[in-house]
Every structure is written in structure tokens, then in C-alpha cells.
């Protein structure tokens, strides 16, 4: 398949980002208030992105056992164990990819438990290692509805972050700068949504596996003009694909929704497996997680508090079901694959009956596969291939008239 020009430019964009991480640096969780940190004057580094790099480069397997030896159980988040293990071994894939001698030293570490409690332990570990201040944002969890009180609770914590950040930077945050950063984030997130929604077309011009790569800027450059420029160009390219009817999966026969974490060390082989079987993975919970509809620069703190608290992973089962159902309808999905990620309990949604409810309420077939985001010891290539091939065949059997 011809590569998108944006995909080629992504490499230099990321190299530029990592090469310039030399100012006051704040570490932040991927769905944390990066905008506040940027407005304060920090450069922002995202350990989860590093975790994903360790997985995608399949180096995680070397580092995870080191973290186990250090006391982190094998059932604990394999972003955490890979990242801490790499640190303990004094290595990082950033060296080979971007020439960085080590991960950037933090001046402030910020986490948001909107996604899981593991980030608190993970980031606190590095706070101790670097003797660096750590601030945790603890929103209410598993919400069916997000209330005004929930938002106020988070807004207050964001205010505490601003106070701490100002002390470290040594100057007051410029509210106009925050509004500017938030506007850029809002534009970036809308463009990212537009990018993902091109896959509503039949055939889809990109798949979940492409998006797992193309999502890097919305995670690590959110709130910058580079992020906006990147997705503007990508969108132009994808619209061109839409016009020509370009198919990311030639002979697309069935459309699949991926629920749960990517299996970073198997992105390529899974992408090939689906494509060989005429199945396009057209949408996912994971890639949608960086769409923040609520950002509003007229009310920056509260709107960020709302957006970051409403993310899928922080919602109750009924809210999650409603969000998934909307995606399945919007993208005309034939089947859903739930990735039961062994070490990511929080982003695994197949353990409390969601697949059955999707089947019962929408008549859409579901499949759960065992695996993990980074620890490939929990993934069986043979068994997963058998399950996925059978599932695709099962979906094809049900829409024979279209084939």
C-alpha cells in the first residue's frame, strides 16, 4: 500500500520534538492537562508514548523482567514495567530513533488517574528517582454522568497544578497563553476526529493500525501548531483518497471495531492478517480517546476538567456501552474485537459482559482475544490468528449478498 506523505513527515516531526526537549520539562500522562504545562512554559514529555515505543520496537520484552526483579508484579501495567525496566537498564529506544542519550530529566511530574491508578505508582517512582516534585490529579472514576461537582473537583486540582507550576517556572501563567494553547489543542483534536472519520467511507482509506502510528502528534504535540499543521496535511491526503475510492484494505469485505489497547509488538502482523482476510479495522476506542469535544478557551480550566474527566476509560459501563454503540453505527461495523489485555485491566472492557450486551442490543458479533499491550508472553500468535480468521469468516458468512 502506498505510504501517506504525512507518515513520512511524521518521522522528522517526532525527531524535531524529541531533539528539542531541553527546556524546563514536565512529564505528563497522555490524557493529562498538557495544555496547562505548555502554557506555564514547560516542554512536555509523555512516558506512555515511551512505553508504546518500547512495545512497538519489541524491546519491552528485555526490560519487563528487570522491573519484575525490582518488585513490580507481572500482572502490573506493562507500560510501567517496560519503562521502569528500561530505566533500570539505562537504555531507551529514543537513542536509536532520535539520538537522545537518555529519557529527558523532569522538573515536574504530573499524572491524572482518569485512566488508571497505575500511573500514580509509575510516575511517583520516577519522582523519587529524579527527586522531582510530583502532582497527581485524582478525578472521580467510573462515571456514568459527569456532574458539575465532578468538574469543580478536577478544576480545583488543575488550579493546584498551576500554583505548583508557577513556583517551579518562577512566573505567573499567562491566561491568554493557556487559551491560545487550548485553541490549538481543540483544533488539533477536531482535525484528529476528522481524520478518523474518513474511515466511515466504504472502503475505508485508513485503518486502526495506521491510526496507531498517526496518532503520535495528538498525544505528544497536542496544543502546538505543529500538531495542527500535521493533521491538516493528513486530512488533505485522506480526502484525496476518499475521492479516488482508495481502499486501505483492498477488497474490503467486513468492517471491524477494535476495543481496548493495541498490541504494540504485533501491529504489523495483525494489520497484515486483517488485510489478507479482507477485513478493515475501521474504528477503535483507543484512537478515539484523544478526541476532546469539551475544550473551550472561553472557559479553559473547567472545560479541560470536563474533557479529561469524560474520557471513555473513566466512564461507567452504561456510558461505555452507549459510546461504543454510537461508533458501531457511525462506522457501519460488522463485528467487534475486544482485546483482553492481561496487564491493562482498566482499558480492558470484555470482563464485565460488555461484549454480550453489544451482541444482544445491536446484533453485532463480538470476539475477545487474549493479549497485552506490551508483554508478548501473554499473546499467542497461533491461537489469536485462528480466532481472528474464524471471526472474519463468520462475519462474511452473515453478509453473503454483499460479497
Amino acid at each position: 500500500m502506498p505510504q501517506l506523505e504525512s507518515q513520512i513527515k511524521l518521522k522528522s516531526l517526532l525527531k524535531n520534538y524529541f531533539s528539542n526537549l531541553n527546556g524546563p520539562i514536565a512529564w505528563c500522562t497522555s490524557a493529562g492537562p498538557a495544555e496547562i504545562l505548555r502554557a506555564l512554559g514547560f516542554q512536555v514529555y509523555f512516558p506512555e508514548n515511551h512505553g508504546a515505543l518500547l512495545g512497538a520496537s519489541r524491546t519491552a520484552q528485555r526490560y519487563i523482567p528487570k522491573a519484575h526483579q525490582f518488585g513490580y508484579h507481572s500482572d502490573v501495567c506493562s507500560y510501567l514495567t517496560a519503562d521502569i525496566g528500561a530505566w533500570l537498564m539505562g537504555e531507551t529506544p529514543l537513542t536509536k530513533a532520535y539520538g537522545l542519550p537518555a529519557i529527558p530529566k523532569p522538573d515536574l511530574i504530573v499524572f491524572n488517574t482518569n485512566q488508571c491508578r497505575e500511573v500514580a505508582d509509575w510516575f511517583s517512582y520516577f519522582g523519587r528517582e529524579f527527586d522531582c516534585p510530583v502532582l497527581g490529579v485524582y478525578p472521580p472514576r467510573h462515571l456514568e454522568k459527569v456532574t458539575k461537582a465532578d468538574i469543580e473537583h478536577v478544576s480545583q486540582q488543575f488550579q493546584n497544578l498551576i500554583d505548583l507550576g508557577e513556583k517551579i517556572i518562577g512566573k505567573t501563567m499567562d491566561m491568554d497563553q493557556l487559551k491560545h494553547v487550548l485553541d490549538l489543542s481543540k483544533t488539533g483534536t477536531q482535525l484528529w476526529q476528522n481524520v478518523l472519520e474518513t474511515a466511515r467511507q466504504h472502503p475505508a482509506p485508513l485503518t486502526f493500525f495506521d491510526s496507531c502510528i498517526l496518532m503520535a502528534p495528538i498525544v505528544i504535540l497536542r496544543g502546538t501548531s505543529e500538531c495542527v499543521d500535521f493533521y491538516n496535511q493528513l486530512l488533505v491526503e485522506l480526502k484525496s483518497r476518499l475521492k479516488t475510492g482508495f481502499a486501505a484494505v483492498p477488497n474490503e469485505k467486513v468492517r471491524i471495531y477494535w476495543e481496548g489497547m493495541p498490541i504494540w509488538g504485533r501491529l504489523r502482523s495483525l494489520s497484515d492478517l486483517f488485510a489478507e482476510n479482507g477485513a478493515a479495522v475501521v474504528s477503535s476506542t483507543y484512537c478515539n480517546s484523544w478526541i476532546f469535544d469539551d475544550f473551550n478557551s472561553r472557559n479553559p480550566i473547567d472545560s479541560m476538567a470536563s474533557a479529561y474527566t469524560k474520557i471513555f476509560i473513566n466512564r461507567g459501563e452504561n456510558a461505555k456501552l452507549a459510546l461504543v454503540k454510537k461508533q458501531l453505527t457511525d462506522f457501519a461495523v460488522d463485528g467487534v474485537i475486544f482485546h483482553d489485555s492481561k496487564t491493562c485491566f482498566n482499558n480492558t472492557n470484555s470482563r464485565f459482559g460488555l461484549p454480550q450486551r453489544v451482541r444482544d442490543e445491536m446484533g453485532i458479533d463480538t470476539l475477545a482475544i487474549d493479549g497485552d499491550l506490551n508483554d508478548l508472553r501473554f499473546f499467542s500468535d497461533g491461537q489469536s490468528k485462528t480466532k481472528i480468521e474464524t471471526f472474519i469468516e463468520q462475519l462474511k458468512e452473515k453478509k453473503p449478498l454483499l460479497l
Binding site: D365, T386, K387, T390, Q394
Partner: protein
């Protein structure tokens, strides 16, 4: 006309423990079947078996299935779930549930009357409750696989192995041996453990149940225990060991007829 010159189709199920071959004629009748241990590095016996079938029958197409389906040259490759559904449906063209207990996994398949897979479930990566589990535990208990069903039938024990892990289950069995548990009760304990693993899978209600795979072939007493646990009757599919290979052969025939219509 020499019947061997008539069109035939070969299905090969390269399972985790054994490779099963089935040759069918144009009417779908099984005319030859055989089983070999799945090859490791030495493929001579496998190649000889394939060559012999090609020599004896006019094989039009071959379909491979099982974990090794992509390891051999063939016209088509289909998963063992799809093939089991097709194979069992040949004699049982009804909406049904198939429970296939193999060497390393257990599959529960909701299968349509035409052999289509409606829904399926496999055990997770752990091999507890599968053929490999029985082999490992039986070896530790010094039980002959072929005698286990008869032994278990003579037991009234209701004691099961607790451990999910095959390695720990072996240690547990060692404890039973030290405690002087009769060999019949050990055989029964292994079967009850398997039955528990099978019956915790989501088995659809109200459908006729068909059992197939290597485990039910070699351990027929399991049928009674599964029936008792589920509270419904189950049938052992015809050709239980060859259900997947038969399905593969039938799919090879189907593929041939689809091509000839083009």
C-alpha cells in the same frame, strides 16, 4: 470407471498433537482416513502419507486446517473451527453446539444447519482441560491413557483437581498418590477436572450438543460426565477424531465446485 480415478478431496488437520487426514469422494463419503503424530523436524512420514493419497486417489484439491494449516502447501487453508463446523454438519444439518476438545484447546462452536459458524468461544491460552493436560497428569499418575475411561467408570469419587496450572496440577496429583488415593479415583478426578473446564465455557442453551476431537475419541466416559454436568444429552459426532479433517475435505470439494462454476 475405476472409483479411484473419480475426483477426490483431501482434508488435513494439522493439530497440536496429531495430524489427521481424510479423503472424500465426490459424494462426500470418507474413503480413507488416518492419523499421525504431528511432525516436528522430521516430515518424512507426513510427506509419505500425502504422496500415498495422491497416488491412490485423484485428489482435485487439498484443504489444510489446524495450527499447522499454513505450514504445508495446499489449495486452501481454513481454521479448525470452521472445518469442525462443516465436518459435523455433514451428518447433522441442524442448528447445534459443537464442543471440540483438542490437544491444546477447547472450542465451543454454535454451528448453523449449513455448517456456518454462528458464534464460537475458545478457552484462554491455558491448556488446562485439554488433551495435553490429560497426557501430562496421566503420566504423573502412571495411568495408561487407553485405560482411563474404564477405570473412571468404576469410581464413585467426586474429587477434582483444583489447580488451573498443568504443572501445579501434576504436583497436586502427586499428593493424591502419596495419600493412597485409588487409581480409579485419580482417573475420575482428572475427568471431573476436564468436565469443569469444559462446562464453564459459554455453551448455548437449548441446542443439540455434539462432541468431537481427540479427547472425546480416546476418553469416551467424558461424554457421561459432560451430560451429567450440563443436564442435557450429548452425542459424539461421527468420525469424532476426523471431524476437522472431514470438514477441510468438504471445503476443498466446495472450493473446487465454485471454481468450476466460474
Amino acid at each position: 470407471m475405476d472409483f479411484q480415478k473419480q475426483p477426490h478431496y483431501l482434508g488435513i488437520d494439522l493439530g497440536s498433537s496429531y495430524t489427521k487426514f481424510a479423503v472424500i469422494n465426490d459424494d462426500g463419503d470418507v474413503v480413507n482416513s488416518q492419523v499421525l503424530p504431528t511432525f516436528g523436524r522430521r516430515r518424512e512420514r507426513f510427506n509419505m502419507a500425502v504422496d500415498l493419497m495422491h497416488k491412490n486417489y485423484s485428489i482435485q484439491k487439498t484443504c489444510t486446517s489446524g495450527y499447522g494449516r499454513n505450514s504445508q502447501k495446499s489449495d486452501i487453508q481454513k481454521t479448525e473451527i470452521i472445518c469442525a463446523s462443516v465436518g459435523v454438519s455433514q451428518s447433522n444439518p441442524v442448528h447445534k453446539c459443537i464442543i471440540d476438545i483438542g490437544g491444546e484447546d477447547i472450542k465451543v462452536i454454535e454451528s448453523g444447519s449449513q455448517g456456518e459458524v454462528i458464534h464460537f468461544h475458545m478457552n484462554d491460552k491455558c491448556s488446562a482441560g485439554t488433551g495435553a493436560f490429560i497426557t501430562e497428569i496421566a503420566e504423573k499418575a502412571e495411568l495408561e491413557i487407553g485405560e482411563m475411561s474404564d477405570l473412571a467408570q468404576a469410581s464413585n469419587a467426586n474429587r477434582t483437581i483444583n489447580s488451573f496450572c498443568t504443572v501445579f496440577a501434576k504436583t497436586e496429583i502427586l499428593g493424591w498418590i502419596f495419600d493412597g488415593v485409588p487409581i480409579e479415583d485419580i482417573a475420575m478426578g482428572i475427568y471431573l477436572s476436564i468436565t469443569d473446564r469444559v462446562c464453564k465455557l459459554p455453551i448455548p442453551h437449548g441446542l443439540p450438543i455434539f462432541l468431537c476431537g481427540g479427547v472425546i475419541t480416546h476418553h469416551p466416559f467424558l461424554k457421561q460426565l459432560i451430560e451429567s454436568k450440563l443436564g442435557v444429552e450429548a452425542q459424539v459426532a461421527s468420525h469424532p477424531l476426523y471431524a476437522v479433517a472431514l470438514g477441510a475435505a468438504l471445503l476443498a470439494r466446495k472450493s473446487d465446485s465454485q471454481e468450476s462454476r466460474k
